[in-house]
């Protein structure tokens, strides 16, 4: 934890802390890659919030994973001060949010800490699926929307087209939209002026009982839980006795502060401010994202409504490669769930993989990121099973159950019906690619419901089995439309389908963790893809290992992992024995993302074989 400032009244860029400073709270929202984090960089620079030497691109993307993948995963709050042309100084609490559809829950929570949003639109791409989704989210939350048309430096930028899109497609008045290049910095100052002018200040009562919403949190091994707060009414100062409304637990506040974007200490948090507190909250269960914090001796009678819990749509199993790490995995999941309120977990057991957890995610990227964060931030070696959607099964005795794990599907003769989830799928695409898109969705058993023209763009609406668009659909959509298509979906209902369980046998033994559910007509294709891919990614073994896909008892497809031709050390005399033994121990420990199934060493990729692209 970095503490860059401390003490009582502290100077911030020549401005002393002062409760009468005017505040603007806003999030930056957009479709993925439209330039939110880059715009945030320019704002930090213009307000001189970061020393020159500490500047880098996408400053607010602080997680290693965000930097490696070039996308924002976590919403990051930061406070800056801006001296406007009117001569007054404003405290801006901005939150940079992720654009990828899987992290929508981050956006929805960030919005609860704000009065307005900057809706960024890439002028070369125009309005895309998450532009619309996030804009609606802001409007539903009663926030003021300030459109920012970005990337006007690009030769194919069409700022006016983007503005027209916004008004026609999204229904957002865009008369005071600001056209900028976040990359070159052109016109970014006008964004700051527009923020001050068009976004409303927070309304809060400093004298009312404390009401602060926990919109995010991290776990720190020294400080315990550090909740991120938006203060609605009242003030918090160190020494206050606070109460967490839903649990009734009380704590004494150690410190409070804000984000710059690291943790910075301040003397108080007043109404309208965004910040954090520490209060030796050691037990993760003592607070919850969405809780209201109030004062123990002067509690509010108007707690904020919590967040609507995120609804995971795909589930996969997470297992430690070393079974002794199971308790550490549980602890890591608990801690990470503080900082990522969108995934769920509960214990499950697999014959092949032992003790682990069935985890729910908002999408494949989300699943991948959670696994990677657990491995890095908690130093765990994990195996994840292929993400699957939730099926509804009615058995012959009339009982209906939800199946989150394909291996839990009852025997065919006990099944009266299986229903799979359908989604409403919206695809936004330039006219010329409509044919390609239609072919693709048809292949995925999609049914077209509507086709709307917005200028040269077409919005295609489908109903399609969710399981069919889970894996390689988005990549194929992108490649069939030269990157121009974007999509969104929401859950529709479960519908009956001719579904079967495809089992996978490794070395002639069924591996429960590898089972998948597929449409009967595509079972062969799915089975073939799994065994071929597995045979590719499993390294050579000490004997030739058959990999088979089967439905019921019937083998559909088979591939073979080859055996080593020669894998034996040339020399092993008295002096070599200790060294060889140590090497064996080291190899045993070094098996992160490898699981031994019987005697076959199976790497993580093999468990995700079903995800492999068809091409």
């Amino acid at each position: 934890m970095t503490e860059t400032r401390s003490g009582a009244a502290f100077p911030v860029h020549g401005v002393r802390y002062d409760a009468s400073v005017e505040i603007r709270n806003f999030s930056i929202i957009a479709h993925v890659d439209h330039g939110k984090s880059t715009l945030a960089d320019r704002i930090l620079e213009l307000t001189q919030s970061v020393a020159e030497r500490n500047r880098r691109d996408q400053m607010l993307d602080t997680l290693d994973l965000e930097r490696e993948r070039g996308i924002t995963i976590k919403a990051s709050p930061v406070r800056v001060f801006y001296r406007a042309r009117n001569g007054r100084t404003y405290m801006l609490n901005l939150i940079d949010t992720p654009g990828h559809v899987d992290f929508g829950y981050e956006v929805s929570r960030a919005l609860r800490a704000c009065e307005g949003v900057l809706l960024v639109v890439d002028a070369s791409q125009g309005v895309e699926a998450q532009t619309i989704q996030n804009a609606y989210l802001a409007v539903e939350n009663g926030l003021e929307v300030l459109p920012v048309i970005n990337k006007i430096d690009l030769p194919n930028a069409d700022a006016d087209g983007a503005i027209a899109d916004l008004e026609e497609v999204v229904g957002i008045p865009a008369d005071h939209a600001v056209k900028v290049s976040a990359k070159t910095g052109e016109n970014v100052e006008a964004v700051l002026e527009a923020i001050v002018e068009h976004l409303p200040p927070p309304r809060g009562d400093a004298e009312a009982p404390l009401r602060a919403l926990i919109f995010d949190a991290v776990y720190d091994s020294y400080q315990g839980v550090i909740p991120f707060l938006r203060v609605l009414d009242g003030r918090i100062v160190p020494g206050d006795r606070i109460r967490v409304v839903s649990t009734g637990r009380e704590f004494e506040v150690d410190r409070v502060g804000f984000f710059e974007p690291g943790f910075a200490v301040s003397e108080a948090l007043g109404p309208g401010e965004v910040g954090w507190l520490t209060a030796s909250i050691k037990d993760i269960a003592d607070t919850q994202i969405g809780d209201t914090v109030t004062l123990a001796d002067n509690p509010t009678d108007r707690p904020e409504p919590g967040f609507k819990p995120a609804q995971p749509v795909v589930f996969s199993g997470l297992y430690p490669t070393d079974s002794e790490d199971y308790p550490r995995l549980r602890e890591a999941l608990e801690k990470l769930s503080l900082n990522d309120a969108a995934f769920t977990f509960e214990p499950e057991t697999s014959e092949a993989l032992g003790f682990g957890f069935r985890c729910g995610f908002l999408g494949l990227l989300h699943a991948d990121i959670v696994q990677a964060r657990l491995e890095r931030e908690y130093d765990l070696g994990l195996i994840a099973t292929a993400p699957a959607v939730v099926y509804e099964v009615t058995t012959t005795d009339g009982v209906t159950e939800l199946i989150q794990n394909p291996s839990a599907l009852p025997d065919p003769d006990r099944i009266a019906s299986i229903r799979e989830p359908y989604v409403r799928l919206g695809i936004y695409v330039p006219e010329e690619y409509v044919g390609n898109v239609m072919g693709l969705v048809q292949e995925k058993r999609g049914e077209m419901k509507d086709m709307l023209y917005h200028g040269k763009r077409v919005e295609l609406r489908y109903e399609v089995p969710f399981g069919e668009i889970l894996y390689d659909f988005h990549d194929r959509l992108k490649s069939l439309t030269r990157g121009y298509a974007s999509m969104d979906y929401d859950f529709l209902e479960h519908r009956e389908g001719a579904l079967v369980k495809v089992d996978v046998l490794v070395n002639e033994e069924r591996v429960d963790a590898l089972s998948v559910i597929a449409h009967r007509d595509r079972a062969y294709e799915v089975g073939r893809r799994i065994v071929d891919r597995m045979a590719q990614v499993i390294p050579r073994q000490m004997f030739a290992v058959p990999i088979q896909a089967a439905v019921g008892g019937k083998i559909l497809a088979r591939a073979t992992v080859r055996a080593f031709r020669k894998d034996v050390t040339a020399k092993c005399y008295g002096g070599d024995i200790t060294r060889k033994k140590k090497l064996l121990e080291k190899q045993k420990k070094g098996k992160a993302r490898m699981k031994q199934l019987g005697t076959v060493e199976v790497p993580q990729e093999a468990f995700l074989a079903v995800l492999g692209s068809e091409e």
Binding site: A563, T569, A570, Q587
Partner: protein, 371 residues
């Protein structure tokens, strides 16, 4: 029974780029200090483990790179302390350029009855690539002299070298009538000049040569009795066989290792492995690194060395000694290894089949993984 002796001589005429043994060029002052310290160590160890050893093995480095007088001094010290030569076998490792018939006679007079020659290849380009000082003619000359000396002889051959005709090397050496050959695939060990230069061994060539060795050498009556060792029946290296069986041995000299039974040197219940420090610290008298063995460690070791040999592992003895069996320790591994015919059981003996031998490292990795 007194442990066998291994004595390490860390000096070589020159240093080969693939070699990761503890060795160095000769330096007269260092050799003098080495001999002093060695005598001292011989006396210390003989006080703890007295008795005439069954086998003695001078390895290196290049023991034959010591002068006659120096060798005589070491032999004398051993004789006084333990009794010398070994009752069964006494081996000297020798470089082809370090002896002629007269010198071989002196080796015999000192008590050596077996000579292990670092011959490596009979092909000049291969020898050059390996950084050896001798050529093919010198290699065969040395071999013929050794065979004529009346000593038992081993010749080392390296295979899997780019550009080598391995079969020709094997046949040329075997047809000399030598009773023992060690055939090693070239291995690029970390930290060696080969590794730094980025030399890589072609895996397919390595496998080809490995598969070639047994049938070719069998034509000359040389049978594989360990992964890399071939002998006429009765001509096996008794010293190495004893270490592969897990029997105790005492190591003398820098970086030499020992395997000592229970009840000595603060050993664990299943004996101890010790390794002397490298020469500088050994000269200063630094103590060896030691590892107390436990039951599981003994089983791993027995599989590690025993499965490399034709005689395999005596499971009954192993269970008597440790109370364990590999079958009980790793049932799935056991089942698969037998089902896929990598291992076979005959009476009390567990052995690797030809396929199992070729993939022994994978077999051991999965065994340890399953523990």
């Amino acid at each position: 029974m007194a442990p066998s002796l291994y004595l390490h001589v860390p000096f070589c005429p020159h240093v080969c780029p693939y070699c990761d043994f503890h060795k160095m060029r000769r330096d007269e002052r260092l050799v003098a200090r080495y001999l002093d310290r060695l005598e001292q160590e011989i006396d210390e160890q003989a006080a703890r483990y007295p008795g005439r050893p069954a086998t003695v093995y001078f390895g290196g480095g290049t023991p034959s790179h010591l002068s006659d007088a120096e060798l005589a001094r070491v032999v004398g010290a051993l004789e006084r302390a333990f009794g010398f030569p070994g009752t069964v076998e006494t081996t000297l490792e020798a470089d082809p350029l370090t002896f002629d018939p007269e010198r071989l006679a002196r080796f015999r007079d000192l008590g050596f009855d077996r000579l292990s020659i670092g011959l490596q290849s009979t092909q000049d380009p291969v020898l050059r690539f390996l950084g050896r000082a001798h050529d093919g003619r010198a290699a065969m000359q040395a071999l013929d002299w050794a065979l004529a000396s009346g000593m038992r002889v081993n010749a080392d051959v390296i295979t899997a070298v780019a550009g080598q005709d391995a079969e020709r090397d094997l046949r040329t050496v075997a047809s000399s009538g030598v009773g023992h050959m060690s055939v090693y695939s070239l291995t690029v060990e970390a930290g060696t000049p080969f590794a730094l230069r980025g030399v890589v061994v072609d895996r397919e060539r390595e496998a080809d040569d490995f598969e070639l060795a047994a049938p070719v050498l069998a034509e000359y009556g040389l049978e594989r009795y360990e992964v890399s060792n071939f002998a006429r029946p009765g001509d096996e290296s008794r010293h190495n066989q004893s270490t592969w069986r897990g029997e105790p041995y005492l190591g003398l000299g820098p970086s030499a290792s020992s395997h000592l039974p229970d009840g000595v040197a603060g050993a664990g219940a299943f004996g101890t492995r010790l390794r002397n420090p490298p020469i500088r610290r050994w000269l200063e008298g630094a103590p060896p690194e030691s590892e107390a063995l436990d039951a599981e460690g003994v089983v791993v070791e027995r599989l590690l060395t025993g499965l490399r040999t034709r005689e395999g592992v005596d499971l009954d003895r192993l269970r008597e000694l440790t109370g364990r069996t590999p079958e009980a320790m790793a049932p799935a591994w056991w089942r698969d290894a037998l089902r896929h015919r990598l291992l076979e059981v005959e009476g009390p003996r567990l052995r690797a089949t030809a396929d199992g031998l070729a993939r022994l490292d994978a077999l051991l990795r999965t065994f340890v993984q399953a523990l």
